[in-house]
């Protein structure tokens, strides 16, 4: 026990542990946020590829477009809203974790909510 405590006195050790705690906290927070976003949208049942409209917290830039293009087929960009088709469950959860995504809403095959 005293050996472990002595180890914590080393700067690289306590700094790395602090970083680790921060990263895990952030990870847990984004996971909770993602669950809440998907629950609100009724998309947390994992029923396969989805058609969704993603609303960003700001006007999208190249960075956001590239992230969303990796998640699914982008068909429409209008202001802060981006329509994505064929989004897999994993990709949906992955984009829901992004804190800059304000809302995710399902749409049907014709693009209607």
């Amino acid at each position: 026990m005293s050996g472990t405590l002595a180890l914590l006195r080393h700067r690289p050790v306590w700094f790395s542990l602090t970083l680790l705690v921060l990263v895990i906290s952030f990870w847990l927070w984004t996971a909770a946020e993602a669950t809440e976003k998907l629950r609100t949208a009724g998309l947390n049942d994992g029923t396969g590829a989805a058609q969704v409209v993603v609303t960003l917290a700001m006007v999208p830039e190249k960075f956001h477009m590239e992230v969303l293009q990796d998640a699914g087929r982008m068909v429409l960009v209008e202001g802060r809203q981006i329509e994505l088709r064929d989004v897999s469950d994993d990709a949906l959860r992955s984009i829901a974790r992004r804190y800059w995504i304000a809302e995710i809403a399902p749409i049907d095959a014709e693009g209607k909510p």
């Binding site: 080393h10 700067r11 690289p12 700094f15 700001m58 830039e61 960075f63 800059w100």
Partner: protein
């Protein structure tokens, strides 16, 4: 008899005595930073250039907050750090391995020494066009470039460290019945450690600077890309945010990892004095 010798002038502390020297140093550093920022902010209306040419510190701060809110900066910093750490790990491993081999094997050192000197002399930027042809733009080019930069300082210093181990230490260990591996792990490696660390530190510094340069050329994320992209998208405040992040990340790496490692290796053998002792 009265002592009439003049009393030596006492140095007046700038800050109250209850403050430690470290705090005083930190406060003075913060004061310097504040004065720099104030001068920068005041100079903006005096110079009268547009924000594109000369953004104010307030604009840079807004840009910093904006980049975090947009989720761009955290991703870029993590991407840069990831590339850097992977390259450092591979470069150090290769450098130490080759350095030990060439240091312990004199004949191999003579055969490959000139070739290594030749390769070390070729500046890394000269390799970039060829690397791009071989691996295209992207992670591989950055990785190969950083590993290349990292390998040579580590290799040279490891080789030097191994070769300069006093023969008397090796003989003493052997006379006590130590095997080859025991001599290597208990005599050669500890004695060569300060040199190896020096090579690591030099390589790590070079690799960090080159990371930014490589990201400007061959990446679509990262701090280097942010610096480059900021100018090309006429958002120079973002470029300055990238530059500040670069400096901050290096300061953190240096203060939290490299300095303590130096204390544990180089200063322990009294090859250099610590900053506190100067």
């Amino acid at each position: 008899m009265t002592d009439i010798s003049p009393t030596p002038p006492q140095s007046t502390p700038i800050l109250p005595t209850f403050m430690t020297r470290r705090r005083e140093r930190a406060l003075l550093g913060a004061l310097g930073l504040f004065l720099f920022l104030a001068a920068w902010q005041i100079s903006v209306p005096l110079i009268g250039m547009s924000e594109y040419f000369y953004p104010s510190p307030i604009a840079v701060y807004h840009s910093f907050v904006d980049l975090i809110q947009r989720g761009i900066l955290p991703v870029y910093v993590v991407d840069s750090l990831g590339r850097y750490l992977i390259a450092i790990f591979i470069g150090t491993s290769v450098g130490i391995g080759l350095g030990l081999f060439l240091g312990l094997n004199r004949r191999a050192g003579r055969i490959f020494g000139p070739l290594i000197s030749f390769l070390y002399a070729i500046v890394e930027a000269a390799w970039i066009p060829l690397f791009v042809v071989w691996w295209g733009y992207g992670f591989k080019v950055i990785l190969v470039l950083l590993v290349y930069i990292m390998v040579f300082p580590v290799l040279y210093n490891t080789m030097l460290g191994v070769r300069t181990v006093p023969q008397i230490l090796i003989n003493a260990a052997r006379s006590m019945g130590a095997s080859r591996s025991q001599v290597l792990f208990h005599v050669v490696l500890p004695a060569a450690l300060p040199n190896m660390y020096t090579g690591f530190r030099v390589g790590a510094g070079f690799a960090f600077r080159s990371l930014i340069f490589a990201e400007m050329l061959a990446a679509k994320t990262g701090i280097g890309y942010l610096i480059y992209e900021g100018v090309s998208s006429q958002n120079t405040a973002r470029t300055i945010v990238g530059m500040i992040c670069m400096g901050l990340v290096w300061l953190i790496i240096d203060a939290m990892y490299l300095r303590p490692l130096e204390t544990a290796t180089v200063e322990r053998w009294r090859l250099v004095k610590s900053g506190e002792e100067k």
